[in-house]
């Protein structure tokens, strides 16, 4: 298949144009985060600042709202969710894939059924339950509804089924108990699947607005999306430079993580498509 070079040039030109259009919001976000107020109010198309006000905008943004605290909250909540998801899902998936016990096929049915239930179905009763136990507006409330991931069990189950039994039998012959098999053999084996799932889980919970909006009230518990909303409503419409600096700060962690591990992110998030 020989491609004419004219095709190559057209392809590059079209793709460059498309990529520029898709990246335009980022270009403007960063550009305007470097502009002084009067320049923003002059309007106009150029994202480039004539006069550099970046330091003032970013320091101003950090001073106005505890954005770093919101990012830390995001880390706490996402890490907590992922930790418990793996803690519950890995042994469960291992048992379902590799151990024979009565009730195993029933478990498989329950997992498949669980895959059908979207998170939106459960939020009202969980809210009521947390309100009864006085747990709303806590880190616990932000983490706990997501700790049992059917999707994780399903993924790890599928993955572990492809692993030959010989490996596990060899470990048993060496005197490994089932718990140390999970820790020393299963965990390293499912690392690729766990990484992909982890990225999917972290990205979706970092970006989630619905549940944090419903369950928290205190500003100290703001997750990144809530934090940037608080920032916007607090500032009565004049310092757009600081607002853009704030959005840049809130967006930065995931964007940087993505740029460092692009292939893994794409893998992990497209894997999430299986869940719908």
């Amino acid at each position: 298949m020989k491609m004419p070079t004219r095709f190559q040039i057209t392809r590059l030109a079209i793709l460059t144009l498309a990529a520029t259009l898709l990246l335009l919001p980022y270009i403007y976000m960063v550009g305007f985060s470097l502009k002084p107020v009067d320049e923003i109010f002059a309007g106009g198309l150029s994202p480039l600042p004539r006069e550099f006000a970046g330091i003032a905008n970013y320091l101003g943004a950090l001073e106005r709202e505890p954005l770093l605290r919101y990012l830390a909250n995001g880390v706490i909540v996402c890490a907590g969710i992922l930790f418990f998801q793996l803690l519950f899902a890995v042994p469960c998936a291992y048992a379902m894939a590799k151990l024979r016990f009565p009730g195993r096929s029933l478990m498989l049915g329950i997992v498949l059924f669980g895959l059908l239930i979207p998170i939106q179905a459960t939020s009202l009763p969980i809210y009521v339950g947390l309100a009864w136990t006085g747990l709303t507006d806590t880190y616990t409330a932000l983490i706990v509804p997501f700790i049992s991931s059917v999707f994780a069990v399903f993924l790890f189950y599928q993955f572990l089924r492809t692993i030959p039994d010989d490996l596990l039998d060899a470990a048993r012959l060496d005197g490994c108990g089932e718990i140390s098999i999970v820790v020393r053999i299963v965990l390293p084996l499912i690392m690729p699947a766990a990484t992909a799932f982890g990225i999917f889980s972290v990205v979706s919970h970092w970006n989630d607005l619905f549940w944090p909006l419903v369950i928290t009230r205190s500003p100290e518990l703001n997750t990144p999306p809530l934090g940037i909303l608080a920032f916007r409503s607090e500032e009565a419409g004049d310092s757009y430079g600081e607002l853009m600096a704030g959005t840049a700060i809130i967006t930065a962690p995931l964007v940087i993580a993505f740029l460092l591990a692009q292939r893994r992110f794409i893998e992990g998030i497209s894997l999430g498509a299986l869940k719908g």
Binding site: L22, R100, S148, A170, P224, L229, A273
Partner: protein, 318 residues
């Protein structure tokens, strides 16, 4: 570690007796039942508390008139569902959600397919363009929505500056009832094109080069001909899968509405999840909101079931 267990001794024997290995392979029945369930049980308990019980509860509550903060609760049968059919807001909300999904899905799918084919057609710059298109997918939607709000600002925004430059009138994209839904759909297409692109790339990779060669032998050697004779037919299953995924994603729109419009102006951007949020968590009409939730979830369920069936079928093709 230092003490040698009988089983490790057994493994060091030059030729382990098959019977011994067989015994070790299948531990005693009672023990394996115990181990199996002790591994499954923690997950099962968490699942019951946070998924299964709440799902049952939301259905049960939907048949009551329960309001949070009120002591009385009574069974009202299908009253909430009847109210749902006659009330104005849920109807508008459902209609908006469907219109929104019908704008977002086809355009994201077509744009994603187009990008995927263009990116995959040559290795030059492939990784760069793939990542550039994917960046909106990983970015925090609320933050990017605020950036879009600024870009679309009636007086300061670059979009309106550009319109004026071309001699067109400035628009109030987010506060004009006729424009607000298409504007939100546009933001979603911007966000999702890279997502569908990646899913299509996976589909494209599974089409073997031999088929293109065969098509070339048969005289289909222009890119467009090859697309219609090879790519498009073989991408069929992927296409259906991506369409359903996008329908599911766009039915669940919430972030941009909550951030930018609050369902307004005059309910022109009221969508299902936002209605559930308001009725349930702001007005505390738990019974009524549960009924909306049940209807909404049935919506999603049907699509998910179709998707599962298709995935099952596509496994058989392999």
């Amino acid at each position: 570690m230092n003490t040698q267990s009988p089983s490790s001794l057994a493994s060091e024997r030059p030729s382990p007796a098959p019977s011994a290995a067989g015994v070790l392979k299948a531990p005693p029945h009672l023990a394996s039942t115990f181990i199996g369930w002790s591994f499954v049980l923690p997950f099962l308990v968490a699942l019951s508390v946070f998924v299964l019980a709440p799902t049952a509860a939301v259905i049960a509550i939907s048949f009551t008139d329960w309001q949070l903060g009120r002591d009385t609760i009574s069974f009202v049968g299908l009253e909430n569902y009847r109210a749902l059919l006659t009330a104005r807001v849920p109807r508008i909300s459902a209609a908006n959600t469907i219109i929104y999904a019908l704008m977002v899905t086809p355009l994201s799918v077509i744009l994603g397919l187009w990008l995927a084919i263009l990116i995959e057609s040559s290795p030059m710059g492939r990784a760069f363009f793939r990542s550039a298109c994917f960046l909106p997918v990983v970015s925090t939607t609320v933050a990017m929505a605020i950036v879009w709000e600024f870009l679309l600002h009636p007086t300061l925004g670059p979009v309106n500056s550009a319109l004026l430059l071309f001699g067109l009138p400035a628009q109030r994209f987010l506060s004009d009832a006729a424009l607000v839904l298409p504007t939100l759909a546009f933001i979603a297409i911007w966000e999702n094109a890279g997502y569908t692109m990646v899913l299509f790339v996976a589909g494209l990779k599974s089409i073997s080069a031999e088929l293109y060669d065969a098509a070339a032998v048969d005289g289909a050697d222009r890119p467009w001909e090859r697309f219609w004779t090879v790519t498009f037919p073989l991408l069929g299953p992927t296409m259906v899968f991506v369409v359903i995924i996008m329908l599911l994603r766009s039915f669940r729109v919430f972030e941009t509405v909550a951030t930018l419009t609050g369902g307004g102006p005059r309910r022109a951007s009221e969508v299902m999840l936002y209605t559930i949020y308001q009725e349930g968590f702001q007005f505390f009409q738990v019974g009524y909101a549960s009924a909306i939730t049940v209807v909404f979830v049935i919506f999603l369920l049907v699509l998910t079931l179709v998707n599962f069936r298709l995935m099952d079928r596509s496994v058989h093709y392999k």
